[in-house]
C-alpha cells in the first residue's frame, strides 16, 4: 500500500511496508543520508527530523503516519544555498567534531526555535537531549543562542 507525503518540499509516493520506520525510507528508499541511525530505539536522537514542523525521532515513526504530512530533513533545512540560521550558527561556532550526531541536534534545535525563538539555558537543557559522544555540548549551547540571535529571536 503506497504512502504519499511531502519531503523537503517535494511530493513523493513510496510503496514500502507501511510499518517500516520512516528513518529507513528516508535514508535508503529516498537516498537522503543526512538523517542518521544511532540506536533505532528513539534514545539518541540522531534520527530527528520534522513532521509538520514538530521534532520526531524517525526510527520509531512508522511510514504509515507520514501519509499526507510535510517532512523536513537536514537536507531541507537550508533554502537553496542559504543555510538555516541553526546551520549558520553551527558554522560560525565550528560545532561539529565527528559530525555524526549533528544533523539530529540541528533538527531538534530548529524545532525548538520554531516554538521558543529565544530559549534560555534551562529551555535548552529541557529540550535538547540528544547524545553527542564527542561532547561538543559546550559550543552547541553557544550556537543555539547564536541561532536564536540570527533568527531575530
Amino acid at each position: 500500500m503506497p504512502t504519499t507525503f511531502t519531503i523537503n518540499n517535494r511530493p513523493v509516493t513510496v510503496d514500502i511496508d507501511p510499518d517500516s520506520p520512516l528513518l529507513w525510507v528516508v535514508r535508503d528508499t529516498l537516498d537522503l543520508k543526512g538523517t542518521k541511525f544511532g540506536c533505532g530505539k528513539a534514545a539518541c536522537g540522531a534520527c530527528t527530523l520534522h513532521v509538520d514542523g514538530m521534532a520526531v525521532r524517525s526510527c520509531a515513526f512508522p511510514l504509515k503516519y507520514a501519509e499526507g504530512k510535510t517532512i523536513t530533513t537536514i537536507e531541507g533545512l537550508a533554502e537553496g544555498d542559504n543555510l538555516h540560521p541553526v546551520q549558520q550558527a553551527w558554522t560560525e561556532m565550528v560545532v561539529p567534531q565527528c559530525g555524526y550526531c549533528q544533523p539530529g541536534f540541528m533538527m531538534a534545535t530548529a524545532a525548538l526555535l520554531n516554538k521558543i525563538p529565544n530559549p534560555t539555558d534551562d529551555d535548552i537543557d529541557a529540550n535538547i537531549v540528544n547524545v553527542c559522544r564527542c561532547a561538543t555540548y559546550y559550543r552547541m549551547r553557544k550556537a543555539i543562542h547564536r541561532a536564536a540571535e540570527i533568527s531575530g529571536g
Binding site: K41, M54, A111, N114, D123, D125, A126, N127, V129
Partner: protein
Amino acid sequence: MKILLTGFVLVALTLTGLAMTATTTAPESTPFDVMMSALTHKRCVNCHPSGDRPRQGEDSHTHNFNVQRGIDGHGVAALQCATCHRPENNDFAGVPGAPHWHLAPREMAWEGKTRTEIARQMLDPDRNGGKSLDDIVRHLTEDELVLWAWNPGVDDEGVPREKPPVSKQAYITAVKEWAAAGAPIPQTAD
C-alpha cells in the same frame, strides 16, 4: 483407599482453587480490589507521577533523557511525547504507544498515594477534570491510553512489558460493578 480419597479431595480442591484463579477474582477480592490492583500497577502509575517527570520501565525509574511534563503533560517544545511515542506500540523500536500518549495531569497524580486516596481523587470533580461517575467509568473502561496497560508492547530488547495482575476483562467488569454499587471506597487502611 483413604489415601486415594484424600488425594482425590486434594486434587478436587486444587482444581477448584485453580478454577477460581482462572476467573481472576478470588472470593475475597472486591471489585474495588480488582480495579485498584490494575490502577496501582506500574503500567499506570509510571504516567501518573507526582512530579513533572514520567517514570518508565519495570523498575519505574525516572524517564531517561530528562523528559518532562511541559505545560500540558505532552512534553516540552522540541521534546513532546509524540517526538517518540506514536498512537500504537512500536515493537520494532521497543517504544510503547497509544492514542494521545501524555502524562496524566498533576491533579491525577497517583504516585505515592494509597488506594483510597487515589479513589477519592478519581471521584472528586475538582480533581478529575469535572467528570461525573459515568464519565469516570467511560474513561476507565474505554480510553485507549488507559487500556494500553493490557497491550503494553515490548521493550528495546523485545521483552514484553509486564501487564497488570488482572485481565482487562476482569478489570472492566470490576470497574462497572464498583460504579454500579455506588463507587464505595472501603474504610480499611491500605
